[in-house]
C-alpha cells in the first residue's frame, strides 16, 4: 500500500514531464528571438522558406540545434531532451506543411576538390568569403546598413559542417533559395559534376586551421586605484576620454534616478562616453551589443578613503555573445578602457 502510494506520487510529476513537448512553445522560448515567431528570420536565417524546407532533412535540423554555430551567434542546445528537439523540428516542418522532408542520407558525394576550389572562387567567394567565414553580420537585414538583405552564412563553421551532409549541400546548391540572395546553380548552368566538386571543396573549408574558439575566461571587472581625489579623478577621466577620440555623454552619481536628486551617494560617479562610429560598427555586427553602450567608467570612494576606477571587462562580456566578429571589437574596447583608466590614474 505504501509502496503503491510512493509509486503514484513519483509517477505524477513524471507524467507531466513525459507528455509530448510543445514544439511551438519551445521554439518561441529558445529560437524566436533570432529566427522570428514564424521562422521569418532575424539575427538568424529564415527557416520557413519553401526552398529551405524542401532541401533540409530532419537530421540537418536536429544536428543544427544540437551543435549551434560556434562564433556565429547560434548557441548549441545541449540541454534540450531528444523529444524536445524533435518537437522543435516538427514545429519547423509545420511552417510549410505541404513540403515533405527529404530523406536524411550521410553517404558522401564524390568529386574533385581542386576543381571545386576554382569554382568556389568564381561563384561563391564574393558572398561566403574566401575561407568560408560568411558575411559580416548574420541573418536578415532590417534597419542596419549591410551588404546583403540576408547575410550569407559561414560554411567553414564546425556547427554547419557537423550538421550538413554532402547531400544537403548538394541539394542546396542545385536548388538555391528563392527569397534570399542564394542562387540556384542548376539555373546558373553548372553541371551536377561541377556541383559535386564544389561540395568536396566546401568540406575542406571545414578542415582549415585557425577556426574560432570562444575567448578564454576573463575577470568581470577592470579596476585601478587612483592616487587623486574623486573630483580630480573624474576630471582626469573626462580628459582621457577626449584624448582617445571619444565624447563624454554624461557624468552623474551612480544612484541617479534611484534616489531623489541630492540624496544620491556622493562617493560614486559614472562617466558615460561614446564614439558613434565605433558603436554603429558594433551594432551592425550584433544588435545585442547595446549592453555595452554607452561606454561607462565608474569612480568610487571606498570605505578606507581610497578612490577606485573601474569598468566592466569587454573581454569577459564577449564570451557570452558567441560572435567571432564581435570579439575583435571587444578586444579593441578592452584596450581602450585600459588606456583611459591608466591615463587618468597615472
Amino acid at each position: 500500500m505504501r509502496l503503491a502510494l510512493l509509486i503514484l506520487l513519483l509517477a505524477l510529476p513524471l507524467a507531466g514531464a513525459l507528455a509530448a513537448p510543445d514544439g511551438a512553445r519551445l521554439f518561441r522560448e529558445h529560437c524566436s528571438a533570432c529566427h522570428g515567431f514564424d521562422g521569418q528570420g532575424g539575427m538568424g536565417l529564415p527557416l520557413s522558406l519553401p526552398d529551405f524546407l524542401a532541401v533540409a532533412d530532419d537530421a540537418y535540423l536536429t544536428r543544427t540545434i544540437r551543435h549551434g554555430r560556434p562564433g556565429r551567434l547560434m548557441p548549441a542546445f545541449r540541454e534540450l531532451g531528444d523529444s524536445q528537439v524533435q518537437a522543435i523540428v516538427g514545429f519547423i516542418r509545420g511552417l510549410q506543411p505541404g513540403i515533405p522532408a527529404p530523406p536524411s542520407n550521410d553517404e558522401p558525394v564524390a568529386g574533385d576538390a581542386r576543381r571545386g576550389a576554382d569554382l568556389y572562387r568564381k561563384h561563391c567567394q564574393r558572398c561566403h568569403g574566401a575561407d568560408g567565414w560568411g558575411g559580416r553580420g548574420t541573418g536578415v537585414t532590417f534597419s542596419r546598413p549591410r551588404d546583403f538583405p540576408v547575410m550569407p552564412p559561414a560554411l567553414n563553421n564546425p556547427g554547419f559542417q557537423a550538421a550538413a551532409s554532402d547531400r544537403f549541400i548538394r541539394r542546396t546548391l542545385l536548388h538555391g533559395r528563392r527569397g534570399t540572395p542564394m542562387p540556384s546553380f542548376r539555373e546558373r548552368g553548372l553541371s551536377e559534376q561541377d556541383v559535386d566538386d564544389i561540395v568536396r571543396y566546401v568540406r575542406q573549408l571545414g578542415r582549415a586551421p585557425g577556426s574560432w574558439r570562444p575567448p578564454a575566461e576573463q575577470p568581470p571587472v577592470l579596476m585601478f586605484d587612483s592616487p587623486y581625489s574623486l573630483a580630480q579623478t573624474v576630471a582626469n577621466i573626462k580628459r582621457a576620454v577626449v584624448g582617445n577620440n571619444f565624447r563624454t555623454v554624461r557624468v552623474q552619481p551612480l544612484e541617479t534616478g534611484l534616489r531623489p536628486p541630492g540624496e544620491e551617494s556622493p562617493g560614486q560617479y559614472v562617466i558615460f562616453f561614446c564614439n558613434f562610429e565605433f558603436a554603429n560598427r558594433a551594432l551592425g555586427l550584433d544588435p545585442r551589443v547595446g549592453l555595452f553602450l554607452p561606454c561607462q567608467i565608474t569612480v568610487l570612494k571606498t570605505a578606507d578613503g581610497g578612490v577606485k576606477v573601474m569598468s566592466m571587462n569587454p573581454k569577459f562580456m564577449s564570451r557570452i555573445y558567441n560572435n567571432r566578429e564581435l570579439d575583435e571589437a571587444c578586444d579593441e574596447m578592452h584596450d581602450l578602457y585600459l588606456s583611459i583608466m591608466e591615463e587618468a590614474t597615472l
Partner: protein, 154 residues
C-alpha cells in the same frame, strides 16, 4: 529506513531534476510580439511589478541615422532597488560597473527584441558571500520572469 522516510528525499531529487532550467544561457533574450513603443511601456511596467525602479532610459539612436540605420528605436533601460544597490556596493565595490541592472531593447519590424545578461555570471566577484549569490539568483529569476511576460505579450 521506511518508505516514508525516503519519500521526501526522493521527491526532492525528482523535483530538483524537473525544475532545472532547460537552458542555462548566459545571454537572456526575448522577442516581444509588440511594436517598439508598446513594448517599451510593457517593459517598464513589468520591471516595476517585479519591485524594481527604472532609474534611466538611455537612447542609443543619436547618430544612428547618419550611419545609415533606418531606425531610431534602440534604448537601454537601467533599473534597480535603491537600498539593495547601496548596500551591495558597500560590501562589493567591484559590482559597480554592472549596477544599476540594464536591459536593451530594439525594434525589428513589428516586434521588439530584448537582451540582458545572466547576473549569476558575476558570482565570482564574491563566491563566498552566500547572501550576494542569493541576490544574483533572485535577479536572474526576476529577469527570466520579465522576459517570459514580454515574450508572451501579457
Amino acid at each position: 529506513m521506511s518508505h516514508w522516510q525516503t519519500l521526501p528525499f526522493v521527491l526532492f531529487l525528482l523535483l530538483a531534476a524537473l525544475g532545472r532550467p532547460v537552458l542555462a544561457d548566459d545571454l537572456l533574450m526575448a522577442r516581444a510580439p509588440h511594436p517598439f513603443p508598446e513594448a517599451m511601456l510593457d517593459l517598464q511596467t513589468a520591471i516595476a511589478e517585479h519591485g524594481y525602479h527604472v532609474s534611466h532610459v538611455q537612447r542609443v539612436d543619436v547618430g544612428l541615422g547618419r550611419s545609415g540605420f533606418k531606425t531610431d528605436k534602440y534604448r537601454i533601460v537601467f533599473f534597480g532597488k535603491a537600498d539593495e544597490v547601496r548596500e551591495l556596493l558597500q560590501r562589493h565595490p567591484a559590482l559597480a560597473p554592472y549596477l544599476p541592472l540594464k536591459i536593451t531593447l530594439f525594434a525589428e519590424a513589428d516586434d521588439t527584441l530584448l537582451t540582458t545578461f545572466d547576473p549569476t555570471m558575476l558570482t565570482r566577484l564574491a563566491p563566498q558571500d552566500a547572501d550576494f549569490i542569493l541576490r544574483l539568483k533572485r535577479w536572474k529569476n526576476d529577469l527570466r520572469s520579465i522576459f517570459h511576460e514580454m515574450r508572451e505579450g501579457d
